[in-house]
Amino acid sequence: MTALSLADRRRRGAKAVRTRLFVGIARSLFLAILSLMVLVPIAYMVLASFKTVPDFFGNPYGLPGTWAWDNYSRAWRDAHISITLPNTIIVTAVSVFGSTLLAALIAYGISRKEKPFAMGLYTFFVAGLLVPVNMIVLPLFILIKWLGLFGTLMALIFPYIALGLPLGVLILGPVAATLPRDLISAAQVDGATEWQIFRRIVLPLMKPGLISVAILNGVWMWNEFFIPLIVAFKPESQTMPVGIVSFVGAYSTEWGLVFASVVVSTAPILFAYLLMTRQFQSGLTAGAVKG
């Protein structure tokens, strides 16, 4: 009987090993396909950025016949990357900083629940997620004109900060609500002003949430196309997404230059991701789990 059950167990064990092997292979295959779906376009983009126009059309998928390094220097000049890249960096950095900080202030203020309309405010801010950009672009245009902000980066920064708030408040609201009330009280008793409490207690404790808001908002602000298309006409106040597109078809399209520009505009985000994979992942799940 023992012998039988031993053999039985061994057979069952072998079966389990086979199942595990199969699951492992299936999973690897699945992940490999997913990786290819992400990596192939990137590889295509990078290769294309080194091709001359005839090369691009004659040999769209292979390696460049001659490596046209000057695509990059020409893009830098002719496609105004030298202007739009710093613009994009400034606009994104300021907008991310501004909207994250403001969202943190709002979320923390609401979480204190000292006013009866606190919950209503939360709903009000989060409802902003339901408003599509296309709908507000005309009033935005008028407002920016009225404020005299045309031609400045502020024409982008202000709307971006505002548009970043709904997501920021949505994520940081629950984070702020889990801050222990006693910690705030302790800081009050320790002599801290409201601002000091926010700076020294609340912000550090909300850090994972802040990172996640900064990442989620930062990515779309970096890539945002519609608002600069409407309010930024000249390269001086344009960001890369619009800069690149306005370059397309201005002459006969220089696809090599276009792809070089796209590489330059994608690189920072890719780079940031590679540098901070861990923070990205923990940041994206922060606020999803309570406490």
Binding site: P180, D182, L183, S185, A186, A187, Q188, V189, D190, G191, A192, T193, Q196, R200, I201, P204, L205
Partner: protein
Amino acid sequence: MANVTLKNLTKTYPGQVTAVDNLSLEIADGEFLVLVGPSGCGKSTALKMIAGLEPITAGEVLIADEVVNEYASRDRDIAMVFQSYALYPHMSVFDNIAFSLQIAKVPKAEITRRVGEVARILQLEDYLRRKPGNLSGGQRQRVAMGRAIIRQPSVFLMDEPLSNLDAKLRVQMRSEIAQIQRRVKVTTIYVTHDQVEAMTMGDRVALMKDGVLQQVDTPDNIYNRPANTFVASFIGSPSMNLYRARLEGEVASCTLVLGGNRLAIPASVFADRAELAAKIGADIIVGLRPEDLEDAALLPTHPADQRLAAHVILNESLGSDHMVHFPIDAPLAKVSDQDSLDEIVVAEGVCIGRFGARSLVKAGQSIEVAVACDRLHFFDAATGLAI
């Protein structure tokens, strides 16, 4: 240093919950006052109003004879130890203790010196670089204490600072806190629901129930002269035995009718209680502390008319003494909302006596219980107030 005065302090939370009701207290400069009461009686709320962490509905808080109702916490010169400790999790122990000084822009060198001093007193020197998350409960508690004493405030407020510690550590920290307070002589209001802490730590004890102050007095007086049946049953472990009874006869030869038992009441009892004579013939509540009951076999000279006949149902022997349970056929006086944590009362009508170690009684025996009739407590049957 400062005295603290509460005048008709009241707190009503939204939804008509009156957490603190007309609380008036005077705490002298340097005094250690323990605020005790069952869970939910409004102790924390009272403390938070003193600390400026909760708006005051009505009444006044005075610190150093100054009304501070409208002052922010930071302007009240107080330090508080929270039940949850409320240590800043992202800061080192050093920064936790130093936080208030950093906020006050005290020079770095002095901060280092003072933190070092506090760390030495509290034996935290080896942990200053650690984060609170990596400390044991007792160490966290000491950090919370350190954060309070480094300020050298005029008033300490402590909200059940020991309730998260295990029993042994609690005993140790209890005496440490009392010693620190005696040394620094800072006015202290200490909230607890532990009657042992209440009895051992404070100069005076204030007992609350449902937001209403029941009695403020020295621990001795609270124990020996409880103002009402609630105080009587809350303080003391096991609780005081409370029964409905009747006094018969006259002052010179009075008898207490306790169910089927009759106890002779010495005339000296009436001498101490002016109003008691008027209650002869009326229903009253009588209270018997367990330690005022003794195995009559150990007291052969005890007067025969001060004894109860009893049938033992349980004997919990603690070595040093015996907790002997026996039913008395008189109706038990129910105290509403009794919430003494160390409550051992097992069944209605059961009386508990604390007998000496040499007592030989066993469950199932019929015995005689000697009652120290000059040490009985008497309460009004209707109001529960002491007579």
